[in-house]
Every structure is written in C-alpha cells, then in structure tokens.
Symmetry: C2
Subunit: 217 residues, 2 copies
C-alpha cells in the first residue's frame, strides 16, 4: 500500500493550490480524517509536512490553518525566484547537452502553438501553465544542484505563483514566450551571463505583471 500520509498530503496540498480551501480556513485533524475515511495519524503527518513547506500555519494546541499570503509575500517570492532561477540558468548553460537544448526548444514550440490557438481558456491556460512548469523545471534539473531545486520548490507552491498565466495579458504572454526562446538561444550560444540575465528579467516581468507597480512600502 502506498503511504496514506503521502496521499493525504497531496490531496490537501492540491486542495490549497486550487483554492478549494479558502484562505486561513481551519484544518481540523479529526474532520479531515473522517472525510477521508482514515485515522488522524496520517493526517497529522501530512499537516506537519505542509507546515514545514509553509502551506499551512500551525499553533500549539490550536490546530492548523491554511496559510495566507499578502502582496509583500508575493513580492518576496518573485524576488527570490528571480535570483535563484537565474542562478540555475547560469549553472545549466555550460552543462547543457544538445538533446537538452532540443527538448527546451520543443517546449517553446508547443507553447507558441498553444498561444496561437483559439481554445477556450479552460483548456489552453492549464496546458500553457503545465509546459511552463516543465520548461523551468528542466532548467533547474540541468543545473544539477539538488539543493537549488529544493529551495526553488519551496517558493513555488503559493497558488498565485502556480497560476501565473491566468492573469496574463496577450502582450505579456507573448513577451514571456519570447523570453523562453531567448533563454534557450543564450544557452545554445553557451553564454551563461546572457541566459541568466534573461531569466532574471523573465521572472521580474512576471512579478510586475501580477503585482503591478512596486509597492511604495
């Protein structure tokens, strides 16, 4: 049997990421357990893991709640992503094989084709978002730094970051796809400064698209 705790973890996680569980909603161990037909023990373990990732807040003897994020949190996340993902580009560029470059080019092509189609956003946006994750994930994998990957992973799982494309204007989407192409071109040229600079711009542009102008503090 696959570990129940892991299953529970994934269920709650996706429930949070899809917005099924609203912000700061209470997560009572007993309720979750009976609703899934299991005991509290695996639920506890799942909640602890989610707490370690920052997806839920737990107070001693007071239970767990869905964590909430404000604009300041999101700004922090995008800033850090811009630094870490551009570093991943820097590491990946000198290591990139021809096959890996080709893989990235394929993803670019698929996304460009998707962007041209006129499908309803219900099917187009998830497909774009999925390939976007593949693109970024591949570069992180190519960087060959497990810890860098782990750090970025802990930053990504905030809902709004996962669903970036939902709020993109057509122009922003085009710019994003051009960035992807440019990153691959820079990697093909073996220019890690170029590649990492584009990646940094890419993430920072996403930040502004989502958050608007920098908050005056």
């Amino acid at each position: 049997m696959a570990k129940i705790a892991t299953t529970v973890y994934e269920q709650i996680r996706t429930a949070i990421l899809t917005g099924e569980l609203s912000n700061s909603e209470r997560l009572v161990e007993e309720d979750l357990a009976v609703s899934m037909g299991i005991s509290r023990t695996p639920v506890r373990e799942a909640l602890r893991r989610l707490a370690a990732e920052g997806l839920v807040d737990v107070s001693p003897n007071r239970g767990a709640r869905v964590a909430e994020w404000d604009v300041h949190d999101l700004r922090e996340i995008f800033d850090l992503r811009s630094i870490l993902e551009s570093h991943a580009c820097e590491l990946a560029t000198p290591r990139a094989s021809a096959a890996e470059i080709e893989f990235l080019e394929n993803v670019c092509f698929e996304m460009e084709e998707l962007a041209k189609t006129d499908l309803s956003s219900e099917t187009r946006l998830p497909a774009l978002a999925a390939r976007n994750r593949i693109f970024h994930g591949k570069i992180i994998e190519m960087s060959n730094s497990t810890r860098l990957g782990l750090l970025i992973e802990t930053l990504i799982h905030v809902p709004i970051v996962m669903q970036t494309y939902k709020v993109y204007s057509p122009e922003a989407l085009q710019r994003s796809l051009h960035h992807h192409r440019e990153i691959v071109n820079a990697m093909k040229a073996g220019d890690e400064v170029w590649a990492s600079s584009v990646m940094r711009a890419h993430v920072l542009a996403a930040r502004e698209e989502i958050l608007g102008q920098p908050d005056p503090e």
Copy 2:
C-alpha cells in the same frame, strides 16, 4: 509541559550538529523512545521534522539515518549562501538604522578582541562562532524578508557550516574579520552594491578555506 516532540527534536538536532551522532548512524524510533522514557509517537514527529530539514534521511520501511554530506553538497551550500546572504545585504543596506549599524560594529569589536586573546580554542572558537552567527543573523533580520531568512536557515545547519571557524587559519580568520568590518562600513555608507559584493566574497572565501580548490568535476 512543553511539547515533548519539540524537546526530542532539539535533542536529536543538537546531537547531530555537535557530531555526537556519527554520519549515517541509524536512528531507530523504538530505541530513541525508550532511551528518553517516552513513546514512539513524539519521536516519529521529531524525525519527520528533521527529515524535512534535511538533517536525516528516511527510507520507507528502512528507518531514519543521520544524513551525510559530501564535498559537492558543501560546495552547493556555500554557493547558495553566497548568493542569498549577499542579497540579504543588498536589502538590508538601505533599511539599516544607526542603532543597527552600531550593533553590528559592536559584534565586530567583540570578535576582534576575541581573536587577539590567547585563550584555548575550546573557549575561544565557540565564542567566535556564536558571534559570527549573530552577525550574519542580524543582517538577515535587517533584510526584512522572512522567506529569505527561512531559505538561508535551511542551508546552514550542516555541521561543518556551523563550525566554520574550526578549520580557519589565523590569516583566514583575520580576513574574515576584515570582511565583517568592510560590510558594516559599506552599509554605513549606504552602498548596497559594495556591501553585497563583500558579503559574497566573504562567503566564497569561506568556501575555499574549507573545501580547498574548486573540484575539477
């Protein structure tokens, strides 16, 4: 009573960090529980928390072991620290108050005095290491980015990183202290580029001091 699980967590954690538990040593839940006179439940929770932080490795049905790190891991950690801590400097510089600058200068002074003394290393090195952590921690706190702090925290707890000064030569120690002074001076001057550059150099110098020349891969 303070949560038993937390107590257990801290005990195991310090045991690992001080080297009391040797590398890849098995951590049997039952043994730990009876040796502390408690049940397995809080031990389990403590081990999961440590696993989430990367201090122990758990394999399904095979138990938990103290995690081990090789040179490549340490290189990754110092590289990431150099990036993240320099970013902390960049954020902290424009926010630094006069009181905070003075606090950092005090820490510098204390470390310089400690370095002059002839105390046995048993008392001098821990005192230096403690103040070093305070210095770096203060700058991270000043950066006002909780997530940045969390990311750095997850990188720090590898024993050898904690005990940096143990392997320092007198020259390296002097250079390290000079770096600290220079960082504070740069922050006082409000020059975040200068400050972050020194911090980056500071961490990378530590990397080379500890790991020697870059591995040829």
